[in-house]
Symmetry: C2
Subunit: 216 residues, 2 copies
């Protein structure tokens, strides 16, 4: 075998190995999402994830050191994926009220299409990851389109409302219109007048390009 052919074979093996490793990691994350959604962030033990993913303990530890590390990775995996999807869908849409309102509608539409995801996010999500809406919120406040007595109160009200909404949706207790109703109410909470809210609610929901197919 020539040096080039040998190198190619090695590259091929490395690539195949990396792909297999990535697939295993996705499998663990998808299983972890289900386990965390059912049992909350603190209760589950490593063996539950091992059983849910159908892997060995050794394989688990090749990927994650602890339940805490797995929780962080699962949280970033699921919310990061959605936030990128929403960002792409909102590309070209102007104005913080319209962008924030449509972003909320897309967020709740995702929740209504995937109750496991919805419960998971409700139970473990920290607002820290929500970078995109924060940008629109700040712009809206600067332009006087949003009003709030303080950033802390605004953050807590929105975060609390979204978390309760995800619990209701994930528990299967939401009507079909619920996501849009909650989006409209969040805009009202930000001091947006009813005419502008109606415009956001009438606007066609931007098309969402699904993130790369993942094994769930």
């Amino acid at each position: 075998m020539s040096a080039t052919a040998r190198r190619r074979t090695t590259d091929h093996r490395t690539r195949v190995g990396r792909e297999r490793s990535a697939r295993t990691e996705t499998k663990i994350l998808a299983a972890a999402l289900r386990v965390f959604a059912e049992r909350g962030p603190d209760a589950p033990k490593i063996d539950e994830f091992v059983a849910a993913a159908g892997i060995s303990r050794g394989t688990f530890y090749n990927h994650f050191d602890s339940v805490g590390a797995l929780l962080t990775a699962t949280s970033e995996w699921t919310t990061g994926e959605l936030l990128r999807t929403i960002e792409v869908a909102l590309d070209g849409i102007e104005g913080p009220v319209l962008r924030f309102g449509l972003g909320l509608r897309l967020f709740f539409a995702k929740a209504q299409s995937d109750h496991v995801w919805s419960l998971f996010v409700a139970r473990v999500w920290k607002m820290g990851s929500l970078e995109l809406p924060v940008r629109d919120l700040e712009e809206g406040l600067q332009l006087g389109l949003f009003r709030a007595p303080s950033p802390d109160a605004m953050r807590d009200l929105l975060f609390g409302a979204v978390r309760e909404a995800l619990l209701r949706i994930g528990g299967g207790h939401a009507s079909r219109q619920y996501g849009d109703e909650m989006s409209a109410l969040c805009l009202q909470a930000l001091g947006v007048d009813s005419r502008r809210i109606a415009t956001v609610m009438r606007h066609a929901l931007p098309a969402v390009v699904p993130a790369e197919a993942v094994e769930r």
Copy 2:
């Protein structure tokens, strides 16, 4: 001893016994409030309550069958006490916007004065007990003073906001004005205009008559 004297002695013993039993129960509830606030509703075992209250296991079981029963009782004890206090304080105050807004301000003032209570309520409270504000909310909606796309969305937004607020206050991360800021933002979320909100915020906070002294 005459029959009357005997009866009096028995009555006295019964009363003393009942009073002692009530004091023990209050002691267990106060200890449970601290334990639940620190550890959440699901994690604690009976021995932790026994140790925190400084009683025997037998005494515990004389009062409560299970951690679940204790949680329900603690929840009713703490929120029921406050809701009665607020109801009394609001006596004679007219109009759902003013009543609801002042009720919120009093509620958060209590939270800011007692972080253990605040964390406990944030972690275990079910909205079900919140009877008084519901009455004001319904009246406000009927009069067109409050607006919401649906009762579910309204309930979830308010409950979520209050819970996040209690977590922030209980964690010691709230400014002195935070309770009033969150009260104002909740009114804005209900569609109340800024002039009316300002009136509620300027209104003197009604005097609160402390509930009967309890051992904490």
